[in-house]
């Protein structure tokens, strides 16, 4: 049992180390690099089944009993996120097999990707506040390298902004963790959930909660701390952007949901209302930013920001139905956002540019890409039949049930603007005739096996999004069960602290 929880952390780590040993053998490196995503996918799936039948699983590392040692915990939420992370990282890796320069492989691209996956898995599974900090740092350091790898002015500039803002966010996180330990005497999240209510100075607890709002808000690109994301996400190679969009900000949201259901759930009136205000602004500002853009990846980067708002909205309403909606939305967003970036990669591959001003007429020349984009874009805007419709429906219904009309209204309005900016891409990339100064065709066009390798990941993700829409019932039940155990953390606490609590 304990082996299953540790696998998604150890397997990518070993894959990263093995990758370094085969530095000059790109083919071997590619095969090894698959170990990380596959282990996450496999153990995520297995943990989902086990947690569903036997309850929450916890493992004490080094056999130090909780709350003294570090504990790894798998509940439905973390297992589900692990599964989704495994799927998108697999898709991004497959895409990079067809597109990544050999030079970058020699620089250790795949080892760094696997190191990042170690951090992602760790952040999903840990039940310890400081340990979460360490996993975050591991994930971030790897992402710094991925962002800067390859050089070039834009990439270096993007990396400077990204690294600086993340250092700041880590400082807030560590301060918060230190102060939290000072006022409760523990860092174990389950233990914190019990002890935080016993702290005399509840005002201080709320102040500490703000440290975590700032830190995780920075990492998940919530308003007003999102500026770094559209300034850096469009600079690295496309598979890296796809990977980041599917994983990094979502880990930030995961951490927010985890801490603000398990630990900081005493002063809901203040903290969750604040998160709701942030959620509203994040949605609106993100989508308005997107409308102004003319660069495919930059436009979608602003959409990442906008959609973080929906997830925060689910958390801030703070009913089981709303959190279930947030979980569904995260899963949906991980699939669709990654696939849209991969489609962007295909567009760039065939036309040599990502500028909407210089693209056109791809509906006629590349109907397959047009179809992929159309399905993914409609899913992002929330039209049936797709994951976007189901998850937005869940969120909106929860919002109306909880009588949070303002935020629900904003979310519906923003959906409309999302649809508008998707139509804008559709019109300029696919629908209209090619402009006069259209980018010239790329000299070497991919064909045969390479083309199949480039198309398959986007196809897989978009297919999953549609399947998600048609078999919504089991996924919805899963998300509801996960949300109920988040709102009512006694099962989590019992699983970690044992019967003594």
């Amino acid at each position: 049992m304990s082996l299953l929880i540790v696998t998604p952390i150890v397997a990518p780590l070993l894959a990263a180390l093995a990758g370094v040993a085969f530095r000059e053998r790109p083919v071997v490196q590619r095969l090894i690099s698959l170990a990380g995503p596959l282990s996450m996918l496999g153990s995520g799936l297995a943990l989902l089944v086990i947690v569903d039948s036997d309850g929450i699983q916890a493992t004490n590392l080094g056999d130090w009993p909780a709350p003294f040692g570090i504990v790894l915990v798998a509940d439905l939420f973390s297992a589900f996120m692990l599964l989704m992370a495994g799927i998108v990282s697999l898709a991004a890796l497959l895409y990079s097999f067809a597109t990544l320069r050999e030079r970058n492989i020699r620089f250790g691209h795949y080892s760094v990707v696997n190191l990042m996956l170690v951090g992602v898995s760790g952040a999903f599974l840990t039940g310890d506040m400081f340990n979460l900090f360490v996993w975050f740092e591991l994930m971030l350091i790897a992402s710094f390298v991925l962002l800067a790898l390859g050089g070039g002015r834009r990439r270096i500039e993007g990396a400077v902004k990204y690294v600086a803002i993340n250092l700041l966010s880590s400082a807030f996180f560590l301060s918060g963790a230190g102060l939290l330990y000072a006022s409760t005497g523990t860092l174990n999240m389950a233990d914190l959930s019990v002890k935080i209510a016993q702290v005399d100075n509840q005002g201080l607890v709320t102040t500490i909660a703000m440290f975590f709002v700032i830190s995780f808000g920075l990492k998940s690109a919530a308003f007003p701390m999102f500026f770094w994301l559209p300034a850096s996400y469009h600079t690295p190679s496309i598979d890296v952007t796809a990977l980041f969009s599917g994983l990094l900000t979502k880990v930030g949201v995961y951490a927010l949901i985890r801490t603000f259901t398990l630990v900081f759930a005493n002063d809901v009136d203040f903290t969750h209302t604040l998160i709701m205000v942030l959620a509203g602004f994040t949605m609106v500002v993100g989508v308005i930013g997107a409308i102004a853009q003319y660069d495919y990846r930059r436009l979608l980067s602003f959409h990442i920001v906008s959609q973080i708002g929906y997830m925060l909205m689910g958390l801030s309403i703070f009913t089981p139905a709303a959190i279930a909606g947030a979980i569904l939305f995260m899963a949906h967003n991980i699939l669709v956002k990654t696939s849209l970036f991969l489609v962007g990669g295909l567009i760039a591959q065939f036309s040599g540019t990502e500028s909407l001003n210089r693209l056109g007429d791809m509906y006629r020349s590349k109907p397959m890409i047009a179809a992929l984009f159309a399905v993914a874009a409609l899913s992002l805007a929330g039209l049936p039949p797709s994951s976007g419709f189901i998850s937005k429906l869940a969120l909106v219904r929860a919002g109306i049930e909880a009588e949070a009309y303002v935020i629900t209204g904003i979310s519906l309005f923003v959906s409309l603007l999302t649809l508008y900016s998707m139509i804008k891409i559709w019109n300029s990339v696919f629908w209209r005739p090619a402009p006069q100064d259209a980018a010239g065709p790329v000299t070497e066009k991919p064909g045969g096996a390479r083309l199949a390798l480039m198309l398959s990941p986007a196809l897989l993700l978009i297919g999953l999004s549609v399947v998600f829409g048609f078999v919504a019932q089991p996924v919805f039940e899963l998300a509801t069960a996960a949300a109920e155990s988040l709102i009512e953390p006694s099962a989590y606490v019992d699983a970690v602290l044992g019967e003594t609590s």
């Binding site: 070039g152 690294v163 070497e444």
Partner: protein, 136 residues
């Protein structure tokens, strides 16, 4: 002693934030270094500052005596120092690369990633990547 450190931490935080708001890369680096270390000191201070005895819990009690400092935050700080050092070292290297690439250490010149349509970028890595692909 705690009082002194509290003011020191506050001073380091404000100096760090002030430097973050300046225009030069070097100031950004020093500012981030100050912030990282201010955080470390904060967590260190939280543990109580005392040189008295080993942190042992007496039989019959379930709490550390008030006069002894708590070792856990010190262990955390140790980890945080290592992480902070590594990240800062990476950032300095990155800043040097940025300086070489842009030819200036003025942060206000680093705007090429904020343009609405960055397609006119003279040295765009995208082109190179599209041309080469996986050629093995």
């Amino acid at each position: 002693m705690e009082v002194v450190l509290i003011f020191l931490v506050g001073g380091m935080f404000s100096a760090g934030f002030y430097l973050l708001l300046q225009r030069r890369l070097a100031q950004l680096i020093v500012g981030l270094g100050l912030l990282t270390n201010a955080t470390n000191l904060l967590v260190f201070t939280v543990a109580r500052l005392s040189r008295e005895g080993a942190p042992l819990i007496r039989t019959g009690s379930d709490q550390l005596p008030e006069s002894v400092s708590d070792p856990t935050p010190q262990a955390l700080v140790l980890t945080a120092i290592v992480i902070g050092f590594g990240v800062l070292a990476f950032f300095i290297t990155l800043a040097y690369r940025a300086y070489k690439q842009i030819g200036s250490d003025n942060l206000e010149q680093m705007v090429s990633t904020d343009l609405l349509d960055a397609d006119d970028d003279p040295d765009d890595e995208l082109q190179g990547e599209l041309q080469s692909g996986a050629a093995d």
